[in-house]
């Protein structure tokens, strides 16, 4: 199958069990008697439900994990630059070591020579997704660099800081457990140390695992429902938009990742009252519904006007500006909130996947850069583009196609 197996964990993992646990815990807070009745009506066998931490996502497959995988609660993005003296063989060794680490850690096993293998025992849907910057591809196969693997064009509203800039390698580490993320990142950095240096580490988070029903659209720290319009993994539409159909052979079945570190200016955002906040985006804060609709997934009516003859969704509204007439200009978003307590900065680690960022992402960003009232409260301070190779089979490593050209 092309999609990574979700949560099989060797058959130990029961989604139903976890849902039941959540329900029981919620009821238990209200009344012990209800809990007793609830468990009495359930023909569940003995013992508590299996912990969700046992859930695992296979590293191996035709696609890399961590893209179609329903977003885990936590992410750590590792931005690494290759050492000047690391040659193609060094890159191969690096990717081979990291691939072996991820294969084991994803199964809930310690990495080879893991000094803290006990910390690996809770994978909690750990995935590690590899992205290659232009620098890495050039180091291995200079003729196989896709045309779009380059810096995004400049945007007027960006205030990019080099400290969050493009790196040669990106490792997107996701898990529902932050301890698992910390351990996996430590293992990966240990094995990357001989060939790379860390440029940046960016941590992000969503709601904790189990806090909300599966499939709930995330909220960003501005309080907005963020990511309503998103192609659904497993659909033809998603496959067409995300997976690479042309370009260099090593990337067939891969995709691209655009990372934008978008700082949000919460101090001034807080000065806005709710009607103004909703007008800026074009959606209601309560449920994310468009100002012309009833529920989150209603299609916005961009032509609808109010009594005064003005469009209900303003010309400057974020959702109007983000939408293109061209259905090819769409991306798959999979972002995370971030907070930097030291600087007080917070915002969104905007992560999106698309077959070609120049074809799909850049036109959207250009429209937003030209006009989007939300720009008053958000500023991109980091930007990077990566080629995301297809997945690998057992014993292989991500990116091995670069050596088969």
């Amino acid at each position: 199958m092309s999609r990574p197996r979700e949560g099989t964990g060797g058959g130990r993992w029961s989604r139903r069990g976890v849902l039941l646990a959540g329900a029981t815990a919620g009821v238990g807070a209200l009344s012990g008697a209800v809990v007793a009745r609830s468990t009495a009506t359930e023909p569940e066998p003995t013992g508590p439900p299996r912990p969700h931490g046992e859930g695992s996502v296979s590293f191996h497959g035709t696609r890399q994990a961590g893209i179609e995988t329903p977003p885990q609660a936590n992410v750590r993005l590792l931005g690494l630059d290759l050492n000047a003296d690391t040659d193609a063989e060094g890159v191969r060794r690096l990717l081979s070591l990291l691939g072996d680490d991820v294969a084991r850690l994803s199964r809930g096993e310690g990495a080879l020579a893991d000094t803290e293998p006990e910390l690996a025992a809770v994978p909690a849907r750990l995935t590690v997704t590899f992205g290659f910057g232009r620098g890495l591809v050039e180091r291995v196969a200079p003729d196989a660099v896709p045309a779009w693997l380059t810096d995004l064009p400049g945007f007027d509203h960006d205030a990019l800081r080099s400290e969050w800039g493009q790196t040669d390698l990106l490792l997107q580490v996701c898990s529902d457990d932050p301890v698992t993320v910390a351990h996996a990142a430590r293992v990966l950095l240990r094995d990357a140390r001989a060939h790379t240096r860390v440029r940046w580490i960016q941590d992000g988070f969503r709601r904790a695992h189990g806090s909300e029903r599966d499939g709930t659209t995330m909220r960003n720290l501005m309080g907005q429902v963020d990511g309503t319009v998103n192609p659904a993994p497993g659909t033809e539409d998603f496959d067409h938009l995300v997976w690479s159909e042309d370009g260099p052979g090593w990337l067939a079945g891969g995709t691209s990742l655009v990372l934008r570190r978008i700082a949000t200016h919460l101090d001034t955002w807080e000065e806005l009252d709710r009607p103004a906040r909703e007008a800026v985006v074009g959606r209601r804060l309560a449920d994310g519904s468009p100002l012309t609709g009833e529920s989150e997934h209603d299609a916005p009516d961009f032509a609808a006007t109010d009594a005064g003859g003005l469009t209900v969704i303003a010309d400057f509204a974020h959702i109007r500006r983000a939408r293109s007439e061209d259905p090819e200009e769409r991306v798959f978003r999979r972002g995370y909130n971030y907070e930097d307590p030291a600087s007080g900065e917070s915002g969104l680690l905007f992560v999106c996947f698309q077959s070609d960022p120049v074809r799909r992402f850049v036109p959207i960003q250009r429209r937003l850069d030209e006009l989007d009232l939300l720009n008053e409260w958000v500023t991109a301070v980091g930007s990077a583009v990566y080629a995301v190779p297809p997945g690998c089979a057992e014993g292989g490593f991500v990116g091995e196609g670069l050596w088969k050209g």
């Binding site: 060794r93 081979s96 070591l97 094995d191 140390r193 001989a194």
Partner: protein
């Protein structure tokens, strides 16, 4: 080319084997301990001991020529019905290879050559790990860089040999002092 020190190690082990054989008098061939299974009486085994031995997850701690020493780890697995004993080892990039054990007192670990090699019980395993048994590489002739792979050859008491491909990994541990060598050497093998 200098005399390969492995020969020296093998010689010592052979002497040990002969001593054991003499001790056991070679009387009960079929039920005899495998330590006696040298070439002379190795016929009691249907197949070479090496055929039942594997080293799972073999890895070597990254080290440079300047470091001089490092070690091979993994889990030795004997899936045969008779005990096998690893009596020697060699590595393409090391002048000398020894089979070591580590004794730890408090936080001080001391390693020394293990007498009798590594016996692995029938259908059993023997872990080689930092702080425990390991295959010691000394006199490195080339840097062993993370992610590289190299070949380790082990010899068993019946004279059969087998090879394993081990991957080089960064590792901060495995810094045991060599016995009687506390003063003047960094101990980082």
């Amino acid at each position: 080319m200098p005399v390969h020190p492995r020969t020296r190690v093998l010689g010592a082990v052979l002497a040990l084997s002969l001593a054991l054989t003499g001790c056991g008098d070679g009387a009960d061939d079929d039920a005899g301990p495998r330590e006696g299974g040298t070439e002379e009486d190795g016929a009691t085994r249907d197949s070479p001991a090496a055929d039942s031995l594997t080293l799972d997850d073999p890895w070597i701690k990254a080290a440079t020529v300047e470091d001089g020493m490092t070690a091979v780890f993994g889990e030795m697995v004997n899936d045969g019905d008779q005990e096998v004993t690893v009596v020697a080892a060699s590595h393409e990039d090391a002048d000398t290879v020894e089979l070591h054990e580590v004794t730890t007192q408090g936080a001080d670990a001391t390693m020394r050559e293990r007498e009798g090699g590594f016996p692995i019980p029938a259908n059993g395993t023997l872990p080689l790990e930092p702080g425990g048994n390991h295959i010691m590489l000394m006199g490195l002739t080339t840097d062993l860089e993370p992610g590289a792979e190299s070949t380790v050859t082990v010899e068993l008491s019946d004279g059969s040999t087998t090879t394993f491909t081990a991957v080089v990994k960064e590792h901060a541990g495995a810094n045991e002092e060599y016995e009687g060598d506390h003063e003047d050497h960094g101990g980082d093998h």
